[in-house]
């Protein structure tokens, strides 16, 4: 156990150094992730020029939803599949699969390292700047912080599991980048990132609530925007844990099946 921890500690250290070296990539992800939020802000400002309240949301509430939501996504979102799908296609993943550590754990450690640097160098400075421009942030209580951290962890885990489904798809399909776009579409629509659940048609809202995508955006966002939801968090937490277990088992089965399809030069 101690040896494993030491292994992953070293992976995180190396990944932090790598992420610091490839800062341009990090900067590009910042822009790629912030643009949808900006365009939604522009759209809603235009809509609210015609109406003061839409489905119970004022303009300020709607903007808070998207601006705070951007920070939630920047903490939770996982992009593992973007790199590994191509590496699988080229056969370069072989050297990682042969290493004496879990590929999934290795990818997660890398992603955590990138996320850590991203939060320190990008997210926190942007929050500081944003607090000077808009008055929608507040300092949560200790209990809220703990609950939010739990929710972020759960959201990260779910996003990561879906990323690994896409990576596993890369072992089966020659052109698996479309799966990455499918994952992206499902998350953006069903997590509430595009429109709040209250504005969705009933059928779409019911589907979104039943599925686990709410935990990668809607749940942590609500916990921050509506602090009293913490009192009713336990059922949501149970829902998320159930989904994580289900998805994890499904991933284990699918991964075992998918990796049998993999072949590369020398294998």
């Amino acid at each position: 156990m101690k040896n494993n921890l030491k292994k992953y500690q070293e992976i995180i250290k190396i990944s932090i150094k790598t992420s610091l070296q490839y800062r341009v990539e990090m900067f590009l992800w910042l822009i790629i992730d912030i643009i949808p939020m900006l365009s939604m802000v522009v759209l809603w400002i235009a809509v609210y020029s015609q109406s003061q309240v839409i489905s119970g949301y004022s303009l300020e509430q709607m903007l808070s939803y998207y601006i705070i939501g951007y920070f939630v996504r920047s903490i939770i979102s996982v992009h593992i599949e973007e790199y590994w799908v191509e590496e699988i296609r080229k056969g370069n993943i072989s050297f990682v699969l042969l290493k004496p550590f879990s590929f999934k754990a290795f990818s997660i450690m890398e992603e955590i390292a990138w996320k850590f640097i991203n939060i320190i160098m990008v997210t926190i400075p942007i929050i500081i700047i944003a607090t000077q421009v808009v008055d929608i942030f507040y300092l949560p209580s200790f209990i809220q912080i703990l609950t939010l951290l739990t929710s972020f962890l759960i959201g990260f885990a779910i996003d990561a599991i879906f990323s690994f489904f896409v990576v596993a798809g890369g072992f089966i399909f020659n052109q698996a980048h479309s799966l990455s776009h499918l994952k992206w579409m499902l998350i953006w629509i069903l997590s509430g990132a595009m429109i709040p659940y209250e504005l969705m048609p009933v059928w779409l809202k019911n589907i979104s609530i039943a599925l686990p995508f709410q935990h990668v955006y809607n749940t942590p966002l609500r916990l921050y925007l509506e602090p009293n939801t913490i009192n009713h968090y336990l059922p949501t937490l149970a829902h998320s844990i159930l989904w994580i277990l289900t998805l994890y088992i499904a991933l284990k089965i699918f991964w075992k099946y998918a990796i049998k399809n993999y072949s590369a030069v020398g294998n």
């Binding site: 590009l28 759209l43 776009h181 429109i195």
Partner: protein, 262 residues
């Protein structure tokens, strides 16, 4: 010109075999296109259940506008994406050598070699929603409107290609940059809403400096018989200047390329 048209026809023919070979990819992209299409319909129906117009755009106007967004999405993901995605890999692996020695314009070959039918659904859905918008809105469409709309769409395509290709040239200078191909497509969100939705300096910037909002707004406006020749002029000038600049940037960037055989 004729040579390049024939060459592109050959590329498209080859891509049919690719579409048949990668059926699952075609199916998944179709699901993605249809998913986004349905969501957009739901989303704008929702908005217009609360307001009758948004900055002068009615619901049929907006659906017609979204039709052009989907047509351009086909151009992004079906015509350009695979080529732009391949460029960083070719540069970093040295495989670009094989493309550079071909007896054809290098930028044309790099940007248009691979065509994908995967996203053809986007094109069809775009046409479908334009037709639906025209019928449901009782719009009067003129021949000149159609011609000017298609004419301006061509310059939209040129502008998108020039800007995206220019941004991709960063790979010649930066060693590893795995997400550069996603950078420009991210800006699609800016032309997902009409240029009129923006205000102030942002509107000026996105209309006259980097006029990406015009790629959808101008073609849509012509079809709606809202002839704004100034914006058309801006689009044409911007696309031609961007094309020239992309050529300069590429010629400068390629000098940084050392290749596998050098």
């Amino acid at each position: 010109m004729k040579r390049y048209i024939n060459l592109y026809k050959a590329f498209v023919k080859q891509s049919v075999m690719s579409a048949i070979a990668y059926k699952s990819d075609f199916i998944v992209w179709s699901i993605v296109s249809i998913g986004w299409f349905i969501f957009n319909i739901v989303f704008y129906n929702l908005l217009y259940s609360n307001v009758s117009t948004i900055n002068g755009w009615t619901k049929p106007d907006m659906f017609l506008f979204q039709g052009f967004y989907f047509i351009i999405d086909f151009y992004i993901w079906g015509v350009l994406w695979q080529n732009m995605k391949a460029l960083p890999l070719k540069v970093n692996s040295g495989a670009l050598d094989m493309d550079l020695i071909k007896p054809v314009n290098q930028r044309f070959f790099l940007a248009f070699r691979i065509f994908r039918w995967n996203n053809f659904n986007s094109f069809l859905l775009g046409i479908a929603i334009i037709i639906y918008a025209i019928i449901s809105g009782g719009m009067r469409i003129t021949i000149s409107g159609i011609v000017l709309s298609i004419f301006s769409l061509i310059f939209s395509f040129i502008l998108i290609y020039a800007l995206w290709f220019s941004s991709m040239c960063v790979v010649f200078f930066v060693g590893r940059i795995n997400n550069i191909q996603h950078f420009f497509p991210g800006f699609r969100q800016f032309w997902k809403v009409p240029q009129h939705f923006y205000s102030g300096l942002v509107r000026v910037g996105l209309t006259y400096i980097v006029p990406i909002t015009l790629v959808t707004t101008v073609p849509a406006q012509f079809l709606l018989n809202q002839k704004d020749l100034i914006l058309l002029g801006v689009l044409i000038v911007a696309s031609l200047i961007s094309l020239k600049i992309s050529k300069i940037i590429f010629n400068f960037s390629i000098k940084k390329y050392s290749g596998a055989s050098a």
